[in-house]
């Protein structure tokens, strides 16, 4: 078949999304297309198992383990696999390192691509039209809105990830956290610091 390129796809659904989602779920279970237990398992995975704690572990390890850090930049997908965080919506990962010269920041302007196995489901602002429009055009203003202060000499590199490759920002380790163990460092690595819209901070 070919796609009709001139018309837009139709509306098939009632306006209330909550009602529609529930009815649709009933219909698809009734038809035998989905298994209710599988639906619960998917929710369980993204609510409890996959989330920013995975990415934080990767970053914290790279701060204390030179060998792992080297692997993370030379062969990021392998490095991440070695910690068991490979998977859907993050098949190919590139780690980008913040330095005194460069601050990295990630967006997906066409949809909302995001490294799911490392950071979980993207937050609402990442999926918002305003972030998608503004991040490539005025990244510095966006960073300001997030309270990120750049060092005078830092260049901003925006990574507009268009799906196949997903980006993980590796923030600089704060001076005051030097000497801590990997486990102690994990909570310093905030989700936003791995998108580039935040910096690592001391856990409260």
């Amino acid at each position: 078949m070919t796609d009709n390129d001139t018309h837009h796809h139709h509306r098939h659904l009632p306006p209330d999304p909550e009602y529609t989602a529930e009815k649709l779920q009933e219909l698809l279970i009734q038809k035998g297309l989905v298994d209710e237990k599988a639906l619960d398992e998917i929710v369980n995975i993204y609510e409890h198992k996959i989330g920013p704690q995975n990415g934080s572990r990767v970053v914290a390890k790279s701060w204390v383990n030179e060998e792992f850090k080297k692997l993370l930049f030379d062969n990021p997908t392998e490095a991440i696999k070695s910690l068991g965080f490979h998977g859907r919506q993050g098949e190919h990962i590139i780690a980008v390192e913040n330095t005194n010269e460069t601050h990295n920041m990630v967006v997906c302007t066409l949809c909302s691509c995001y490294p799911w196995p490392l950071l979980g489901i993207p937050p609402n602002w990442y999926k918002s039209d305003s972030y998608r429009k503004r991040a490539v055009r005025e990244p510095r203003k966006v960073l300001q809105e997030f309270g990120v202060e750049l060092q005078g000499t830092q260049k901003v590199k925006v990574w507009d990830s268009t799906a196949e490759i997903r980006y993980l920002v590796v923030p600089m380790q704060p001076e005051e956290s030097k000497g801590l163990s990997e486990d102690e460092l994990v909570p310093w690595v905030t989700r936003n610091s791995m998108i580039g819209t935040g910096l690592p901070t001391e856990p409260k």
């Binding site: 139709h10 659904l13 999304p17 297309l33 298994d35 993204y46 602002w125």
Partner: protein, 227 residues
């Protein structure tokens, strides 16, 4: 024609929304995410096609729908398109036929599909000689699909017709422009191309030396003579 989802760089004075506090803001978001993955696991379409369907919702719907409403509408259109669900079944949400047996994907199988992912990487082919890192390139303009008028593509309008430089090569990947329309994966070299803010935004750039990086396929790019 610039499509509704292709919004990078458009003028916008809206502040960012306030952060949501939980992974799923509403219970029905869980339903939509899990249905999308579980029905997608039946293998009736690919990830490019599901993106294409979300992006070709009626523009008014795309604009006013929240994220998961787009997902749900895209999923329903895909199911109708591929014959999994009949339009009449969506009117009263009653199955027209007896339940199908042995079709749904089990929790264990889904779990392993999530852990495994679906790589777009393919083996190299001889149709393309990949450009070298450092090659100056110009992006295709207008950012049209070469195979189908008004079809799916991953070249954002804001980056179309500009000069950049190849900074990374990722091997050969499925081409969304054909894969989304069931015209085959037609693997092409995929690169990361770097553009300076000045080259994209001219004097309006916040800082001329800032960079924007995009992942672009071989056929989106025309190599330029090195200067």
């Amino acid at each position: 024609m610039i499509k509704i989802h292709d919004m990078g760089g458009l003028p916008c004075v809206e502040a960012l929304p306030v952060e949501n506090k939980t992974v799923f803001e509403k219970e029905w978001h869980k339903i939509v995410l899990s249905l999308t993955l579980a029905v997608g696991a039946l293998g009736k379409w690919n990830i490019d096609r599901s993106r294409y369907f979300r992006e070709s919702l009626p523009p008014d719907d795309y604009k006013r729908f929240t994220y998961y409403e787009k997902w749900m509408a895209g999923l329903v259109n895909l199911m109708v398109d591929s014959g999994l669900v009949d339009q009449s079944e969506l009117r009263d949400f009653k199955a027209a036929n007896k339940p199908m047996r042995g079709v749904s994907v089990s929790p264990e199988a889904l779990k392993s599909m999530i852990a495994k992912g679906d790589s777009s990487l393919c083996s190299s082919n001889t149709s393309f000689q990949p450009h070298e890192i450092g090659t100056p390139v110009k992006t295709k303009s207008p950012p049209d699909n070469d195979y189908l008028e008004n079809g799916h593509t991953r070249l954002p309008a804001y980056s179309s017709g500009y000069q950049g430089q190849i900074v990374l090569f990722h091997g050969f990947h499925r081409l969304p422009d054909t894969n989304a329309h069931l015209l085959g994966p037609k693997p092409e070299p995929l690169y990361t191309v770097s553009f300076t803010a000045k080259s994209l935004w001219g004097n309006e750039a916040e800082n001329p030396d800032d960079e924007i990086h995009l992942d672009l396929w071989h056929s989106y790019l025309e190599p330029l003579q090195s200067v």
